[in-house]
Symmetry: C2
Subunit: 365 residues, 2 copies
Amino acid sequence: MYRKILMRMRMRMMNATRKVVVGWAKEYKRYLSTTTTNQILLSPPLVSVDLPEIWGSTSTLYHHHPSQSPVSHAKIINGKSIAEEITSRVASNVKRMKESIGKVPGLAVILVGQRRDSLTYVRNKIKACEEAGIKSVVAEFPDSCAEEDIMTSLSKFNEDPSVHGILVQLPLPEHLDEEKILNLVSLEKDVDGFHPINMGNLSMRGREPLFVPCTPKGCLELLLRSGVEIVGKKAVVIGRSNIVGLPIALLLQRHHATVTIVHACTKNPERITCEADIVVTAAGVPSLIRSSWLKPGAVVIDVGTCPVEDPSAEYGYRLVGDVCYEEALSIASAVTPVPGGVEPMTIAMLLCNTLDSAKRLYGFT
Amino acid sequence: MYRKILMRMRMRMMNATRKVVVGWAKEYKRYLSTTTTNQILLSPPLVSVDLPEIWGSTSTLYHHHPSQSPVSHAKIINGKSIAEEITSRVASNVKRMKESIGKVPGLAVILVGQRRDSLTYVRNKIKACEEAGIKSVVAEFPDSCAEEDIMTSLSKFNEDPSVHGILVQLPLPEHLDEEKILNLVSLEKDVDGFHPINMGNLSMRGREPLFVPCTPKGCLELLLRSGVEIVGKKAVVIGRSNIVGLPIALLLQRHHATVTIVHACTKNPERITCEADIVVTAAGVPSLIRSSWLKPGAVVIDVGTCPVEDPSAEYGYRLVGDVCYEEALSIASAVTPVPGGVEPMTIAMLLCNTLDSAKRLYGFT
């Protein structure tokens, strides 16, 4: 009797899931088929990939065909060319916006201090904005500046109708309260997606953040554009920072991967990582990930970029990822290079977020 | 040369980590030793368990002695008695507050419709408030009520200085916008911790939410009070709901477990779960977790409570958890029963959150 009730409940749940899954698949196909040339990203809206939390006792709901056999040479995921394609679509959208409503998106950057890496990042962002036709402005502050000065500048950008995105270049000097400063960024202009409301809405099922942090969004875009199936796959994210590890884990979970976050306290991270179909690594430890960490056929997204001394390189150093690239090439099915993998995508996503913000404000489609 | 630089960097990082870990352990011990009778919870403040994200190449930083050998009979984690102890401490704190500043904490509950389970939950919460000396008020609305009525009532509670905690009993009828309603709850009175800012701050490293959702907080408290080591342990959370699965995963990660969330799309959840040292299950599927899902010596926290028909039971049904209890007893090292495990803790944590809110408002320690 009890068994029968349970069986009936379970059957009902499974049927409900099937219907929803079929419905979702149809919706997704419709979404893809209606993608126009104005559509910049391949990825469906975050919320539309939400499924109800109904459990079935079989594993027949999804059919996966993982390529688990060793491959001789992985596909190289060319972030540079994907980012260029996205940037050129942003540029044509900006042009169209300017022609039809006489407005262009605007990005404001707050830069504190003279860190060499921050200066480089900001310079690259500004350059990318120029190329895409996005107006940009940088408010520079000395290392020793008062918190109030930054808050005042931020408030002005919040009020400025020509600014659609505000970016505080991190890290800030230690004497400044990062949380207080980031929380002041208007939710509608938080193109970095670091406001706790955006992060909370990224975490929660059925909610949609106004902006998704740029690097994680770029990683997801690389996966989607490379045709990597995510639903039901085992994903390991290495690193749990607020700006990369955490949000990429949340994004992968939204896309229904089974996600494990590996971090500095994890025992035997190698053993956990080598079971993953998808590895996203943002540990910032050069060449941490050897071939023994990877499952044959895994897809590897390397967010790490550490400068290491190299007298033979142009500037005396070169950038090295978390992954032993050559080793990964021989075992993975797809790998991002460093440089030229994730990092150009970060800027491309920043342009997308800034454009989206302006579009939202003006109701421009 | 390059190797040497790397080695030196790695050594420096490892030394830094050791210092921080030792420092943290000292701080934690000091915290425990200063715990007074007024201290309700054992758990340290969330932020103090934060460690820097520094990677070492060895696994000697933490020493774990997992009890992996099969045990004949698991310890039963008695949530009922732990909850009673916490409730009685809340009551004595409330008494002390009343005597010294003439105020008592107040909880407001919004209840929409006549769902039997919601009515029972609300009745139990109100009863617990009464027993602890916390003032409570319930605003009841019919199933068909207008959203504006709830919003108006909520706004009044937000303004009311005698209300320190506001709780919207979920689920709401389908025609109501849950997100909109929950977002209106004043952050300072969000004792359920479901506001996206609280959830965002729970997700982010270095941030501290004003309130942690009650059931997840209760699960963590059960683990801590049972002396379960969490740092570096493999934890599997089954279910990814906003109110249980997600926040308990975030909490376990804050306590430095390596967390995997298993959900309806996970392939072979049994294989993943049976590697976990700690299993928290909130799938809501009666008896989903058989002994084959559990690693010998695992700690099992069962959040599931499903009513199943049982003519021999007092009300014609009985509550069944996600876990096959008898089977778990023979393989786990500790298990929560259903009922009497997690669910009394949810209410105890609600009382704690409401008391904390009043203490914060009045600066009462």
